[in-house]
């Protein structure tokens, strides 16, 4: 009994401390559940994981899947990159300029809550049914979370830090570079995380409804192997955003001393994003001890 409990707590510890075990465990459990369910229902309703895997291999070997991914990923990246540049700049501008924000904010929220699909006819009329239309669709999907989050980020910049830079003689540009942008970065990244999710949906919809190519087209064509893209999509999503955020900006995250921070979403109740930075509280006592020794 006690040994069992000890094993159990050891397992829990491994799950908690290693970055790989938790996702691996949940993947295995999920696969097993999938297998179990698929054995008890007809193949048409839910194919077994093994069958999906073989069709995945077949599609990869024939070159059809790699090509589709390529055709999908380009407009996706272009639209997202464009949205990032435009969205962050616009968000900074709106955050810094309250008058402009009062003029423009209502329209941003209207756009944000409009389903992008409703804009499809306009996009087709203006940009045709080619590559550009796809990029525009992704751009529109990704733009608003970036603007809104960046703007909210600028609003929460601590005025006392701005005052410090001012007192040291900093001009507008320096204030932006030294205080505003660094403290907005976590908000920009959480905006980017939503933007990536929406862009993936966006590109699939564009390829389903505007241009019949890429993953979107495959999705339609291989209706029976629906699972395939469904697996690919979440992988793409998590892999990028979370990883990037944790690896590229470690020093940015370090300053969030608490373990969790909530990104406010003013006026938009649709998504309330909880932004978690897992940072260990450093040994304060340890540092203080150093300090005493040094004195």
């Amino acid at each position: 009994m006690t040994t069992l409990r000890r094993h159990w707590s050891a397992c829990l510890r491994v799950l908690k401390e290693s970055p790989y075990w938790a996702p691996l465990t949940s993947a295995v459990v999920l696969l097993m559940a999938w297998q179990l369910v698929s054995m008890s229902v007809p193949q048409v309703i839910l194919p077994a994981p093994a069958r999906v895997a073989t069709s995945f291999m077949a599609l990869t070997q024939s070159g059809e899947l790699p090509l589709a991914v390529l055709v999908t990923i380009w407009p996706f990246l272009e639209g997202l990159a464009l949205a990032f540049v435009v969205g962050v700049s616009a968000g900074l501008l709106l955050g810094l300029c309250p008058t402009l924000a009062r003029l423009v904010d209502p329209y941003i929220f209207i756009f944000w809550s409009t389903p992008n699909v409703a804009l499809l006819p306009l996009i087709i009329v203006w940009f045709g049914i080619g590559h550009v239309a796809q990029v525009v669709f992704v751009f529109l999907s990704a733009l608003f979370p970036l603007i809104i989050n960046t703007e909210a980020g600028v609003r929460q910049v601590e005025s006392s830090l701005v005052e410090v830079v001012r007192s040291l003689g900093g001009n507008n540009g320096e204030t932006l570079r030294i205080v505003v942008i660094p403290s907005t970065v976590p908000y920009i990244f959480s905006g980017l995380r939503i933007a990536i999710g929406r862009s993936i949906v966006g590109i699939i919809i564009a390829q389903l409804l505007i241009v019949a190519t890429g993953i979107g087209y495959m999705l339609q064509f291989y209706g029976e192997t629906l699972q395939l893209p469904l697996i690919l999509i979440p992988n793409l999503n998590f892999g990028n955003a979370l990883y990037l955020e944790k690896k590229v900006f470690p020093s940015q995250l370090r300053f969030n001393r608490g373990s969790c921070r909530i990104v406010p979403f003013p006026k938009v109740g649709l998504i309330n994003l909880v932004h978690r930075f897992e940072i260990r509280d450093p040994g304060q006592d340890h540092v203080n001890f150093h300090y005493l020794v040094q004195r």
Partner: protein, 261 residues
């Protein structure tokens, strides 16, 4: 000519409630700080001390009157003046070194020369933080954070140091240590210090003169000259009869202000 002079300075803020109009925070306040002097402003919380020092730093404009630095009206932040803040205001994403370097970067508006980098290191050393250059603010104690704030101010070699309750948030022991170090640094640097505090003992212990401010709207109520010998850290100044006498005077004056509540 005084180093820093307040001439009939007044400041009011628009109150958040429309019907209340404006809130007068500082009212025709006059005060002169002499060169190399250590002058403390002592007053109850909310009497406008922070407002006063923010005006002196050129962060907010005066409504009426003027503030003169070396005889010239203050309109903007000046390279001759450094400020130490009540809430310290370190950039959380910069290391100790980066925060101190900011003091020089914003003075010259370009990246640091190797000579300036040495000055940054020297300044960190001067406040006793050698070896902590690569620590982030949250990794060091409150006392050490305020040392960083002090180093960031001193690296600019200011002739006037404005300090807004710099030790207010620290525990008694750390505060006592930093007070002594401040006196040391002031002796070495020969700058003028305009020091804000609500702590009676601190004001008397550190200063040449203590200006007592009335309740809001802030006005100078009384200026006490502190006749204690210097250096004060070398002996127990707080036990000096002169200290006890001044403390009593100041306390009577402050008590009056508090009872007017």
């Amino acid at each position: 000519m005084p180093k820093l002079e307040f001439r009939e300075v007044g400041k009011s803020f628009v109150s958040p409630d429309d019907n209340k109009g404006t809130l007068t925070v500082v009212d025709r306040l006059s005060l002169a700080v002499e060169e190399h002097e250590f002058l403390s402003v002592l007053g109850p919380s909310g009497c406008g001390k922070t407002t006063l020092v923010r005006m002196a730093a050129g962060l907010i404009p005066v409504d009426v009157g003027e503030i003169l630095l070396d005889g010239v009206a203050v309109t903007n932040s000046s390279p001759k003046v450094s400020m130490v803040f009540q809430n310290i205001g370190l950039m959380p994403w910069k290391t100790v070194w980066g925060n101190v370097a900011l003091g020089l970067e914003l003075l010259s508006h370009r990246s640091l020369t190797s000579g300036e980098r040495e000055e940054v290191t020297a300044s960190i050393e001067m406040v006793g933080l050698r070896g902590f250059e690569n620590y982030y603010p949250y990794q060091i104690s409150g006392g050490m954070q305020q040392r960083v704030g002090l180093a960031r101010a001193l690296v600019r070699k200011p002739t006037v140091l404005l300090m807004d309750e710099p030790f207010g948030a620290l525990d008694a022991q750390t505060r006592a240590i930093l007070q002594d170090e401040l006196l040391h640094l002031w002796r070495e640097r020969k700058c003028t210090i305009f020091f804000i505090t609500h702590d009676l003992d601190e004001a008397i212990y550190l200063s040449d003169r203590v200006a007592i401010v009335s309740r809001r709207p802030g006005r100078i109520k009384q200026v006490l000259k502190v006749g204690l010998p210097r250096p004060r850290y070398a002996y127990d100044a707080r036990a000096d009869p002169e200290f006890v006498r001044l403390r009593h005077l100041a306390w009577e004056s402050i008590k009056e202000e508090l009872s007017r509540l």
